[in-house]
């Protein structure tokens, strides 16, 4: 593998487990002492990357904490944080923690309903919001959250007519805090010193594929031990570059861009806006990258669309060398023996295709990349690895402060999640459920003793709700959510996510939900990818006015049918899964949407809710009808609702026999 990053000899080692630094504010002060001039936070603003060193960040956090304190923030108070990734919002987390308060980050695209629930449930007194949009939401739900007292906003744009006494702008607050700090020099450090490792560090609300979100309470010890174990496992240093671009309310983002940055002393960079992430990624060239599978899917879709526009020479080169990569890329990355001729071809491919491609995507400096949050399609996974990107799977959840299993370099398999890391014990229950014990194990679900008792048993084992097993090498393999794995009427195994991931690898398919548990055959609801299919339609002079129109086109149905047939051929290659080939499908008239409760905020499918909403369509699929009628309520971004009616065609798909299965990628490209 090519390592683009040079590790200078003077690289500081990861800070030793310092007994004193058992909370993030203490770690911040330690980093400010150890490496005051190294960058800690970075943000692209007005087109330029602006940096703050550790010493500057410590000063920012001190002023903010003092400001909050002047405003009335006390130990144990909760501070909600809502907005896109911004250094100021990360500092707000640290400021709340410094005062012995508890930060509660909220998904920035939450609709008012969800926001009200979290703020009320967490008993939030203070909130820090990015901009007017978020302030408007907070004001809208304020009545329902009687405990919410004060709101701080970072971006004053459009806020000049807001006269509410409970609003305060970030800079004023910081200025007040700075004044206070000058006359109370010991205050900040005194407050920081009061914090203990066993204290609650943060409450993160899990998006939850079922029911209401649950507030996962994590202590400093939980997060810091897990973060440090993973830093040691991968040998991360203070020279890593990460892009902080995933929702701040998500544990993954919190660990990679906040916890590990504070522990190892590296810099977290915030993109200019959500729309510029790809460009910013390229400029930054992160060495340490974390992304859920959907991001990798999106990138691949983009690449495939753009290659369609390339001239034939480039297209030919691209496809030829992708073929080479598919054949020899994995052995090369794992340092296994590869024939010389293949090595030469791969080297040539790297010069002509993989290198430039990785550079364009901003992946050429990546030393360690993780995908987690959901199972990744093996084809998708291997695609990136075959280009020489050290993409690995990671297993973990909010309740475990992420890290449970990580794949070791050189022992990466597409269908496992690796070995348990240090201090983590994993056991498979008799019913196949994965159980764990680790220092990262959460304290409890906030104000939800029943749920806590259900997941956290007296013997110390925590029930994950995932079903899995250990493969012969001792690597953990996750099948699906335990409750989702079922059987077809004939008794064959039915693992929906596995099939859905097969479908989602096609650039044209954005989302798929398959049904089959207790049914005679497997049927699928498909969401087309508007960008990819739109582009495809454009090439064929296919006119369409909206997503709904495009989704209903016969030609689009033909296209998707082709994809599904291909997936069926693939499924047929594995005897255990051959019966779960897809026999019927339809294309949904709208995209599955988190605002409608169909996906979680991290874009996982909420199977039961979808099954209930689209009951009439599912019935039509299984009753053999040629179309299904549907009426759905939809929620617009501003919270208004409307009704959408549609008559959707249903197609039958040819099932493959147990013949040889050709490669997936051919059709996909």
């Amino acid at each position: 593998m090519r390592r683009g990053v040079s590790l200078a000899a003077d690289d500081c080692p990861v800070s030793e487990a310092h007994d004193a630094a058992d909370t993030f504010p203490k770690l911040l002060l330690e980093q400010a002492r150890l490496r005051p001039d190294r960058p800690a936070s970075r943000e692209k603003d007005y087109g330029i990357w602006q940096s703050w060193s550790w010493a500057e960040v410590a000063a920012e956090v001190e002023a903010l904490a003092c400001g909050l304190s002047v405003m009335g923030f006390r130990r144990g108070d909760k501070l909600a944080i809502i907005g896109d990734n911004r250094p100021r919002l990360y500092w707000a987390i640290a400021a709340a923690q410094a005062l012995g308060g508890i930060p509660v980050p909220v998904y920035q695209d939450s609709i008012a309903e969800e926001l009200a629930f979290v703020l009320d449930h967490a008993e939030v007194r203070f909130a820090v919001a990015e901009d007017q949009e978020q302030v408007d939401k907070l004001i809208a739900v304020k009545e329902r959250c009687p405990r919410l007292e004060k709101m701080v906003f970072s971006d004053p744009r459009g806020m000049r007519h807001y006269r509410q006494p409970f609003l305060c702008d970030y800079e004023t607050l910081q200025a007040r805090g700075g004044e206070f700090a000058r006359s109370n020099l010991a205050f900040f450090r005194g407050e920081v010193a009061k914090g203990q490792g066993g204290d609650t560090a943060i409450i993160l609300y899990t998006s939850g594929t079922t029911g209401r979100p649950k507030g996962v309470v994590l202590s400093y010890d939980n997060i810091i031990t897990s973060a440090k174990n993973a830093i040691a496992f991968e040998g991360l240093t203070d020279r890593e570059e990460v892009l902080a671009y995933l929702p701040m309310a998500w544990i993954g983002e919190h660990i990679f861009s906040y916890a590990q940055a504070f522990c190892a002393g590296f810099c977290a960079s915030c993109p200019e806006s959500p729309a510029t992430v790809m460009g910013d990624l390229r400029e930054l060239g992160p060495t340490y990258l974390f992304a859920p599978p959907r991001i990798f899917e999106n990138i691949l879709t983009q690449v495939m669309i753009r290659m369609e526009d390339a001239g034939w020479v480039k297209r030919w080169l691209f496809h030829y060398f992708l073929g080479i990569a598919k054949r020899v890329g994995l052995p090369v990355l794992d340092r296994r023996r590869v024939p010389v001729i293949d090595r030469v071809l791969y080297w040539l491919g790297n010069m002509l295709v993989y290198g430039p491609l990785k550079n364009t995507l901003g992946l050429s400096r990546v030393r360690v990349a993780y995908t987690a949050g959901e199972a990744i399609g093996p084809d998708l996974f291997n695609f990136y690895r075959s280009l020489g990107i050290n993409l690995k799977q990671l297993y973990g959840m909010t309740e475990s402060s992420v890290f449970l299993c990580i794949q070791k370099d050189g022992a990466v398999k597409p269908d496992t999640v690796g070995l348990p890391i240090e201090d983590v014990e994993i056991r498979i229950a008799e019913d196949g459920e994965v159980l764990f014990r680790s220092p990262g194990a959460f304290q409890c679900y906030y104000k939800n003793p029943e749920a806590t008792a259900e997941a956290k048993r007296p013997d110390g084992w925590i029930h994950t709700g995932d079903s899995g097993f250990f493969d012969p090498d001792g690597q953990l393999k996750i099948l699906d959510r335990a409750r989702d794995v079922g059987r077809l009427e004939g008794g064959a195994l039915f693992a929906p996510k596995f099939i859905e991931n097969k479908l989602k690898f096609f650039p044209y398919i954005k989302e798929a939900v398959v049904f089959g548990d207790g049914r005679p055959f497997v049927a699928a609801l498909v969401n087309i990818d508007l960008e990819a299919v739109g582009d495809w339609a454009e090439r064929r002079n296919l006119a369409y006015g909206s997503y709904q129109e495009l989704a209903a086109e016969d030609a689009v149905y033909d296209l998707i049918e082709g994809c599904i047939e291909q997936a069926n051929r693939d499924l047929a290659a594995e005897p255990a899964l051959a019966p779960s080939q897809i026999r019927r499908f339809l294309i949904l008239h709208k995209e599955l949407d988190a605002d409608d409760g169909e996906l979680t905020r991290t874009r996982k499918v909420r199977r039961r809710i979808i099954a209930a909403r689209y009951q009439t369509l599912i019935d039509a699929l299984y009753l053999g009808r040629s179309s299904g009628r549907i009426e759905t309520d939809i929620t617009f971004e501003d919270g208004r609702t409307g009704r959408l009616r549609a008559e959707l065609a249903i197609r039958d798909v040819a099932m493959a026999s147990l013949a040889s299965a050709p490669l997936l990628l051919q059709e996909a490209s």
């Binding site: 603003d45 007005y46 087109g47 744009r157 806006s273 460009g279």
Partner: protein, 283 residues
């Protein structure tokens, strides 16, 4: 907080004809400081002609224009631009092959002091000047939330985005009076809502006076402080939106009797806005 002030631009009894066709006859318009003025009217009523007269593109046959206290018969477009009048066009007029950034930079051209030789050498004062202009452009990019398309050639952008870039270029001139010719034509509901918000924000943040032509009655009623209605080159109403909406002349001439649709322009129903406004489009 913005305050609507004294008239900054007074067009007095303007008449304009093309051959035998009278585009404007004795139209008087006063645009007050910091207001949002909408000019509406059926197709061919003389709205765009009026804007063209204001920014000196057409010279009126009769009447005078007073801009910031100076009255003149004719003003050339570049004079208007130099004195703080910027505009956008009905059919986007950008440099298609240039990036968003470069297009907006052209809006700074009038404010560049160094000549092209200095700029070509790009040292000392020329460099400092360029950097200052670039910083200004970045503030506009930030303001209009077009960071993601900063380096995209404008020709590759969707129409709604091009309109936004055009607005950005006009703003780069730091205008006192901004003339917008159908800023929302051909946009979908979401794009229109964005554009409305930007227009209000510009007016609010910089106190820029804005005169706009718009066909979407919902938008007009929502964002403008005052509405002027033209019909066959004559001004038939002038007042706050509520008043204009109920004026019998306007209802007859513009919002239309069933039998005589003046404007065939297709209108995208704009969500709840239309329900609130009386005008549901002509015909």
């Amino acid at each position: 907080m913005r305050r609507i002030g004294e008239p900054v631009l007074i067009a007095d009894r303007i008449s304009l004809a093309f051959g035998g066709i009278v585009a404007l006859s004795e139209v008087s318009v006063a645009i007050r400081r910091s207001e949002i003025l909408a000019i509406i009217g059926p197709n061919g009523a003389g709205k765009t002609s009026m804007l063209n007269v204001i920014n000196g593109f057409y010279h009126p046959h009769a009447g005078s224009i007073t801009w910031k206290g100076v009255t003149r018969r004719r003003m050339r477009p570049y004079e208007a631009a130099a004195q703080g009048i910027a505009r956008t066009f009905q059919n986007v007029a950008l440099f298609k092959g240039m990036t968003t950034l470069d297009n907006i930079m052209t809006g700074r051209l009038l404010r560049m002091r160094r000549n092209f030789l200095w700029q070509a050498v790009y040292v000392g004062p020329a460099e400092r000047e360029e950097l200052a202009h670039r910083a200004h452009v970045e503030r506009i990019i930030d303001f209009l939330e077009i960071e993601a398309i900063r380096k995209t050639p404008v020709g590759r952008l969707p129409y709604g985005m091009q309109k936004r870039v055009e607005l950005a270029r006009a703003l780069a001139m730091e205008p006192e009076l901004l003339l917008l010719d159908e800023p929302m034509a051909g946009m979908n509901v979401e794009e229109k809502e964005d554009m409305c918000r930007f227009i209000l924000d510009v007016n609010d943040e910089f106190g820029t006076t804005i005169a706009l032509i718009e066909h979407d009655m919902g938008v007009v009623m929502d964002i403008s402080d005052r509405v002027i209605v033209l019909d066959y080159g004559r001004k038939i109403a002038d007042g706050p939106p509520g008043e204009v909406r109920t004026s019998p002349d306007v209802i007859a001439a513009y919002l239309g009797e069933e039998a005589a649709p003046h404007s065939p322009t297709a209108r995208v129903p704009s969500s709840s806005r239309n329900a609130r406004s009386a005008g549901r489009g002509p015909g």
